[in-house]
């Protein structure tokens, strides 16, 4: 776990949106995985999150300076029925591609929840045999989930990750600062990483990051807020000042001036 952390905190960069959302998230720069890999390396991220196809063609495990996390399952946003995300990469392939950790999305509340619970638990068993930590993306979703951003629902998501063996849970932040402390407690010894989401203003992103870290979370997985940013490395420095250096939002903002 220490390989994708620094002083018990972590800042990851996610680049699996090409499968999950399609290229509409991209522009002429960031559609190229090399562009994002360069940000990840220059920004000294704790790891970059890729699907196996991109990793195989773009990530050079012998020369890369940023650790790799392989996202093991995935789906498009085209299908509108209850979500199910199938495993698309084995752990042994992830290891061969150079992964230091693996990720998997669970959608609790989906009518296919049982399938993902089973597959996730199997991969936890395998990954821990390899000594590989597992990050669970836990997003309650589907026709039975009334409010996927209530504090109660997010706390449930965090707990599911812990109960099923995740080392990290990647969950959404719902701007309920006090409530999120409860969410972090629900995750227990599983470390909480907050998912990035759509692009925010610099001030909002940094304030949100500041709040998240104060709830006890262990870090962030950013994506669009970095590789859609005009100054991705400056914003990276600002985030790191908050996450690792306990800086204030105003101090962090100076990186962007």
């Amino acid at each position: 776990m220490q390989k994708i952390m620094h002083n018990e905190k972590s800042l990851l960069i996610a680049y699996d949106q090409g499968l999950e959302h399609g290229p509409t998230d991209f522009n002429l720069n960031n559609i190229n995985p090399d562009y994002v890999l360069k940000i990840a390396e220059k920004g000294k991220y704790n790891a970059i999150i890729l699907h196996h196809g991109i990793a195989e063609k773009y990530y050079d495990k012998h020369n890369a300076t940023v650790p790799l996390i392989i996202k093991l399952n995935g789906k498009t946003n085209l299908v509108k029925s209850d979500p199910v995300s199938n495993q698309v990469c084995s752990i042994s392939r992830a290891v061969k591609l150079g992964a230091e950790a693996v990720g998997y999305t669970i959608y609790p509340g989906s009518e296919f929840e049982h399938k993902m619970f089973k597959d996730f638990s199997k991969l936890v068993e395998t990954a821990h045999t390899y000594g590989i930590p597992v990050i669970a993306w836990v997003y309650p979703r589907g026709k039975f989930v009334q409010d996927n951003l209530s504090t109660e629902t997010i706390a449930y998501a965090a707990r599911i990750g812990l109960e099923l063996g995740a080392d990290f849970v990647k969950i959404n932040y719902n701007n309920d600062f006090e409530g999120f402390k409860w969410v972090v407690k629900s995750a227990g010894k599983a470390k909480v990483l907050v998912a990035g989401g759509p692009k925010l203003s610099d001030q909002d992103l940094l304030q949100r990051t500041y709040d998240i870290m104060k709830t006890g979370a262990s870090g962030l997985a950013v994506g669009r807020n970095i590789w859609q940013h005009e100054k991705p490395l400056e914003m990276t420095r600002a985030l790191k000042d908050i996450i690792f250096n306990n800086k204030s939002v105003n101090d962090a903002l100076k990186n962007l001036k």
Copy 2:
């Protein structure tokens, strides 16, 4: 089987609610698995019931003084269709984590009953090869089950456990004292453990325990009634006085004064 019994009786503490119900069952103390593990050890429970994720991070098999039961399947309470609970931990992983016994929930009457019957029977075969006893949680449930707490239904649940190879059946008590003797007979040589349920008053919990033991049941699996209790160790002593020492309800109540 003797490893999780004492004089043919058993008092277990269950802590799988984080997955089955979410953290709404918890408060700032009992959300922490260490809190419940300490109760289990100090209260000298016959075993504690955990999901594999919690066991892996919190249960230290080399130093623990309370035996471990791994719950092998699980689901959330978010999904409202006919229940199906998939296996989330292999027997070999359970053994590696230190389990002395394993548990599995069957929902007879669910349209997915056949799936759980098959998976349960396979794990019985494997567990018995390892010499590991199996506890079947048997809860008739789903659109075809009109009254899941009728004596007839609970007796059917008990019998299903016996027929499919369970060593213990964990079932609900419906306050039909005479009828429950029939339930216990239906379980045959499979020992009957009664599920705890929501928190009761001290008097009610002890009276209920007293009655249950008089029907011929072998014990209780408690959860919320202990770790939501202000004096969990005192209540534990009271329960043990009834279960193991044949004390009256009034005598047992003295532990709580």
Copy 3:
């Protein structure tokens, strides 16, 4: 096959109703498997039919004097959709428990027919490799089956068992004496055993048995008509007089006087 026959005829005692119907079939005596096992031994039945859970806890293969048949699949009567009965015991476990033969229920006409056809055929292949005979319970059932007791339907059931490799077919008798000769012919070299059904008067049961044997069937699997009977051993002798000794109904009835 000879191990569960006598002079090419067979009288079996079935005790799988605890799973298939629930304990409502039982009273304070016969709810105890030992009670039925004793009848089976004293009555010198050709075999007793049990689920693996009961066999494991009650059947002592080293000392038992009645051969064992393990029923390999099962379901409850709670689920009301098209029936599917999953395998709940492997052949190797059945053999380990002491089985001389195995049984499996197929529901032709169910929308899950294809699943049971596949599983049944696989187990026939395995069982015959072990040298273990297979009894197919064949009960056409489900929304597509208009009349599951027509002679045409029962003849189809018998033939399915033959075509899919059963050594015995266990089917219903519909009181069409002439028609049932055709049913028996449809089964070819697969031997026909008639299922017992709900309790009848002594006279009716013996007359029915007499008729069945005259159609060319090889025997009966009885259950409730024996272990719900006040004089199970006397009724057993009466049945055996008809099945093995070619006695008349009136002669057989003398056992019960």
Copy 4:
């Protein structure tokens, strides 16, 4: 392939109707597999087609003079939803029973088409490893199939067999003489065998056979038209005169006078 052909033509006798249609196709003679086996041997058919259960009990591979084809999948005609026919016999069991070739039914257009495509292709791979030819019964069927006997549909059926690796395709003849030449071309190097169907008059059966052979087909699989016939061996000789000896319908009819 030559083991079930003679001069590149083939006349097979099918006896899998007991499973597919039930015993309503049978009378007191032909309900007995020995009766049909005797016809197959005396009539010197290129092979007889049986399900594994019948083959195991009636076909003596050491003394049989007619080659055996095992039908590997099957279903009843009771289920009225889109057809799916599951594999009920492994190739290794078929080989052990003495099979020189194997058969499998595909229902293109069924919503379960994808399942049968997958299973069929796997068995082709296995069978060809054993050196065993594969006959594909290809019958477009199900709610999406408007006209399962149009020339276009039958040509599609033939082509599916070729594309998926069948050595023979067994398909229906729709009395479109010119169109069926196109069907035969669609099958390419896969040889076309025409399915028999319900009983016809002698004249009609022979004329139909004559026409079929003139379209370029490689032969026939007959069933009811032979074993429901009063003079099965004479009709066999008549069919063989047309198929192997290029006789006219009138000449062939003389066998039956």
Copy 5:
């Protein structure tokens, strides 16, 4: 990958339509696989795409001069529900048949998308272990896909191929010249091959090919436009002049005069 390319460009000939569309695409010449194989060899195509059944019977790996691509999955156009195309050939069989590359169709947006994602990813892992490149046919399709030919949808298709490990993506061209450059960028290091589609006029086909190559695509997979053409070799030369020799449409058209 170089085995099915020439100077980083590729012209493939597809002949899997017999399964996907049925023989309605064929005439008396091209219904014969030998006819198309001859075109492929004389036209020096970079490879021919076949299903395993045709390859096994017609493609002679020892003497063939055109490389082989085996299409690993397939379905008919009869079934009208959301598309699912099952694997019908293993990689090891494809290799045994002489394949230099393999193809597989994914239908993103289908409710069975998750199944194809899983199967495709597994075969990528296996194929790359063998050193075999994989071509993903990616066609968004099904009730959730509103416009399967919008530039956004096709760009998503291309990206899915890249993310899931395809070496080539075979996608549709929607005549949005500028937009298709974005599509090609979305595919990243996965090379873009454009699917052929129904027959066009010579002028239209060549203009379309010219445009496609200018967007950055790596080539074409043609089928009906060649083997339904009166002068397939001349049209092949015209296409190659555009794809490999940078000729104008008018210059290429001279091959057909």
